[in-house]
Subunit: 160 residues, 2 copies
């Protein structure tokens, strides 16, 4: 995969643990009415600052992706919109909206499970653009596919 | 400007009126403490459904751009995350986050005042990408620069 050439060092033990916990939440949310099986976490210095699940249908709000919920909560917990040094964990490759929020919050590292190449286009607003297109000329890094095999079935059809 | 080749028909009377009102709100917000001088509106069939101003600092939430606030409110007013047929108006070219939310909400027309080429890079998460890069292969249209001369001074320095 082209992405690997630019990918950063693998997940730390804390990051892997946070991913496992996010995957558990995604699997649980997928079984609950009105929720989508997508979960995210913001970590700082290896500790969980905030978590979120997709609440688009629950809140009737197209902006409430899991990563957005987690970023909003992290900013409120930390009392600043500057999340420098925080790491974003998501069970699904962040879409362009979430990736932009991540950058506006000055985060530089994102780790995700399911990758764009293996999920329906509907999870992206501009599916003709790839993570590489966004990464070019910036300083963020990512680790793709961590635990992917555990969540891909959640996103196979794009139904929610 | 390259953008013009792909730009759509100019604003209707209702759209122009909504832009004038948004510009008034942006100018007012720029004078208020904790606010940024960016305002947005969602229109449906020429009528205002929802408005919003940038509340990033007010809410301590990096996701609360004016367009996000307006889209969230529009979904709540209309009781659906599907804003097909609605038009987004903004005093500043929507960033990648807001443009993605616009697309997830199935909106297809956006009208904005200040254009990316004339404002600091900080208003965009991925300034190496342009509106044309996002538009390629999609069906949304935009009208750029409507009332631009009235708001450019708000965005000249990037200070808020």
């Amino acid at each position: 995969m082209d992405q690997k050439a630019q990918a950063s060092a693998g997940p730390s033990a804390d990051e892997r643990s946070a991913m496992n916990e996010a995957i558990d939440r995604a699997l649980r949310a997928a079984r609950e009415s009105g929720k989508s099986g997508i979960a995210a976490t913001v970590l700082k210095a290896g500790k969980v600052v905030a978590t979120g699940e997709n609440e688009v249908h629950l809140q009737c709000d197209p902006t409430q992706h899991a990563e957005m919920v987690a970023i909003t909560r992290a900013a409120q917990v930390l009392g600043t919109t500057d999340l420098t040094g925080c790491v974003l964990i998501s069970t699904l490759q962040p879409c362009e909206m979430c990736l932009s929020a991540f950058r506006f919050a000055r985060m530089e590292r994102v780790i995700f499970a399911a990758t764009q190449a293996k999920v329906p286009e509907k999870y992206f607003a501009f599916p003709h653009l790839r993570l590489d297109d966004f990464q070019r000329g910036t300083n963020f890094t990512f680790v793709a596919g961590v635990g992917e095999e555990l969540v891909l079935h959640l996103y196979a059809t794009g139904d929610e």
